[in-house]
């Protein structure tokens, strides 16, 4: 009957968060377009949120604090996506490419 209670143990959530972080870092290193790197960054944000929520559910005395923290992470991630996408659009307009290897000069 241990298997039936696996969703009430912190272990699987913490390991899953570590796996998501590993996947995100792999993507960040491996992707060769700016949008792909942005998606990998979002996965890293998701890993951090899941880790915080697991700690909040199992170890923290105030269940509201972790939820508010994750809400702030979501808001910051939304702001980050808006800024990053507008930078990507501006870069594409100037270079006709969003591969990081081709963006070699800073001078506009």
């Amino acid at each position: 009957m241990k298997l039936l209670l696996v969703h009430q143990q912190p272990a699987i959530y913490l390991v899953l968060a570590a796996l998501l972080l590993a996947i995100g870092i792999y993507g960040l290193l491996r992707r060769r377009t700016l949008i792909g790197m942005l998606i990998s960054g979002e996965i890293i944000f998701a890993a951090a949120s899941l880790n915080l929520m697991a700690a909040n559910r199992f170890f923290a005395p105030d269940p509201a604090a972790g939820q508010i923290f994750v809400l702030f992470i979501m808001g910051l991630a939304a702001a980050e996506v808006a800024i990053a996408l507008s930078i990507i659009i501006a870069v594409y307009r100037n270079y006709r490419s969003i591969t990081p290897e081709e963006l070699t000069e800073l001078k506009g």
């Binding site: 969703h7 792999y26 998606i39 939304a78 702001a79 996506v81 800024i83």
Partner: protein, 191 residues
Amino acid sequence: MNAAFPFADWLVLAAFALAVGLTLAGALIAVLTTRIIRGVAGLMVCCLGLAGLYYFLNSPFLALMEILIYVGAVCVTIIFAVMMAEPDEQPAHATHKAHIAWGIVATMIALLIGGALAYVALSGPWPARPETLVSDGSVAAIGVSLLTTYSLAFEAISLVLLVAILGALVLACGGRTAPGLATPTPPPAQR
């Protein structure tokens, strides 16, 4: 074991396994596909699974917010950017051997960090949860905390969002008439 609903625990376990599987599969799809639009779809699947996990972590409100913000707003915004710039990964310009070597290095780094964190998470002495909780974690408790304890952070993030919107507008409008474009843009009078 509930007599009226036999195997109800197994149904809960199946739902949990579905959430975990969706999260992992979506993240892998988002990272491994060559076409970016499939990566965005993978991110959507990952966020759906994450919403299920939040539900299992006693927070249906965050599950709803995850679907609303990530699937509804962030992924759609990324899709707009994909439509404006054609970001599909080109076949590797570098030599094939360097490409594979870099892939192995990236896998090693990711596995090292992920494995170390998983080891720390599993072996570390975690504190036990106190018996008496400060609040019940409901939406009402979140609202009260947001407007009392965390009111400064609440105001700060609203300011951050405002600045982000303005900055995105300025950045996206800025380079419209940049000289030296590869393809000529239509004159501004036609817009």
